[in-house]
């Protein structure tokens, strides 16, 4: 029977926490970038101008149907060759996950915007609003509330996807875990602790999301 010994792992707790911090930084960067990119892509996709909607559609479909790890390798190893720029693991990861999650967010935004009744557009136009005013003041505020559950789900997916950066040596939680496992010769304990850290964090976020959803549902601003 194997004797579990967590003490070497716990003694290096700060090492793992540093990785956890980097995971959070990367998730926050990609999330804020992804929301902006997603909204822009969705608006472009819904545009009547074909030169806007076509490229947006291509970007969305390409980033949704290719594996994120391939995208990361492309941005990390491939892109610097075309652009002749220095690529850091963080920059490559932030870029990849911003666009990748942006493509998924775009589809959520689009579904939300399309779900708003035509009457809302017509009413806004009737009182003299322009198209962009109507989008900003009337349609988007309502759509965002409806999109909330899918947005949260995607954000949680994003946090899990950030583990892929460990493969290009960005010191996220998983990368630090790998290092620690090799240093302490305790892979079982290290990977178990790290799995639990992810589990607790993500469960906590899901719990918060579920509570917020319920509150929205109670105030009647929100329908699923």
């Amino acid at each position: 029977m194997y004797e579990w010994d967590f003490s070497p792992v716990l003694a290096q707790g700060g090492f793992l926490l540093a990785g956890f911090r980097n995971t959070l930084i990367l998730t926050a960067t990609a999330l804020s970038g992804g929301l902006v990119v997603g909204l822009l892509l969705a608006l472009a996709r819904l545009s009547h101008r074909r030169w806007l909607s076509m490229p947006a559609g291509v970007v969305i479909e390409v980033f949704r149907t290719t594996p994120p790890l391939v995208q990361l390798f492309w941005f990390y190893f491939g892109l610097p060759i075309v652009l002749a720029v220095e690529m850091t693991p963080f920059l490559a990861a932030a870029l990849t996950f911003t666009i990748q999650s942006g493509a998924f967010f775009a589809e959520i935004f689009r579904a939300g915007i399309v779900s708003i009744e035509k009457g809302q557009w017509e009413a806004a136009k009737a009182i003299g609003m322009s198209h962009s005013q109507c989008m900003r003041r009337i349609v988007l505020p309502q759509a965002v509330k409806r999109m909330f559950p899918s947005m949260m789900e995607r954000s949680i997916e994003l946090m899990k996807t950030t583990t892929l950066v460990a493969t290009v040596s960005y010191a996220d939680l998983l990368f630090q875990a790998n290092e620690l496992a090799q240093k302490t010769f305790r892979p079982l304990e290290v990977f178990t602790v790290v799995a639990l850290m992810y589990f607790v964090t993500i469960s906590f976020v899901s719990f918060l999301a579920a509570r917020l959803e319920r509150r929205f549902a109670r105030t009647g601003e929100f329908t699923t």
Binding site: W74, L174, P187, L188, F191, I202, S203
Partner: protein
């Protein structure tokens, strides 16, 4: 700024990529079959009358949905062999990680599908003398599965994309072979572009098909 793309060296090594595609397909099929069937078992476990079974299935689903699949694969590859006296190959570790992860996700899809069937269907099946299992197999599941086909297909696409993670434990699949070719010829840009294109060519038709099925089901329901 003007870079000369040269795909020639990639196509010269087409056989290496072909071996990769075969490895990806093999992993995909195994994980698809295992993930989808285990998912159904766990979905039924969550509806069980037996409390421990229900709790265990719920715990399984929550655990595998709330941890990253790459952590799961690495756990099975580096940690499991310490606990159990078995040799874990990269293929095995990838199968365990991806299948169990997909089982947890598809269990939720099955559960949603089964719940969406009106209680009257169960009652009618019981009224004509079917047992719970018979009602499930003959009446409920055929209807539920029809409704969840788009969600299950999406899961299948996700499994296909997830198979690239097996490259982290050096299983020979498309991305792993791409790395090999790129390191031989120092042409990562072309190689990873081709690899991405191969995934796109395989998966895009399936995604389009899902859209079509979704529209069809929405109209017929």
């Amino acid at each position: 700024m003007t870079y000369n793309w040269n795909f020639h060296d990639v196509f010269v090594n087409w056989w290496a990529l072909a071996i990769g595609v075969a490895g990806t397909l093999k992993l995909f099929v195994v994980c698809l079959v295992l993930g989808m069937s285990l998912g159904l078992v766990i979905a039924l476990g969550r509806r069980s009358q037996n409390r421990p079974v229900r709790w265990l299935s719920t715990l399984f689903v929550e655990f595998f949905r709330n941890t990253p699949v790459l952590v799961q694969i690495l756990w099975f590859y580096y940690a499991l062999p310490i606990l159990a006296p078995i040799e874990i190959s990269p293929f095995m570790a990838a199968i365990l990680g991806i299948s169990l992860n997909s089982a947890a996700y598809s269990a939720e899809i099955y559960r949603g599908g089964i719940q969406s069937i009106e209680p009257g269907q169960w009652e009618a099946a019981k009224a004509i003398g079917m047992s719970g299992l018979q009602a499930l197999r003959r009446i409920i599941l055929p209807q539920a599965i029809r409704r969840i086909i788009p969600a299950l297909t999406n899961r299948g696409v996700e499994i296909f994309k997830m198979s690239t993670l097996a490259s982290v434990v050096a299983y020979v699949e498309l991305l792993q072979q791409g790395k090999l070719v790129a390191s031989l010829n120092f042409n990562p840009l072309e190689v990873y572009t081709v690899v991405a294109a191969i995934f796109l060519i395989i998966l895009y038709p399936i995604v389009r098909l899902t859209y079509a099925v979704e529209r069809h089901l929405a109209r017929s329901d």
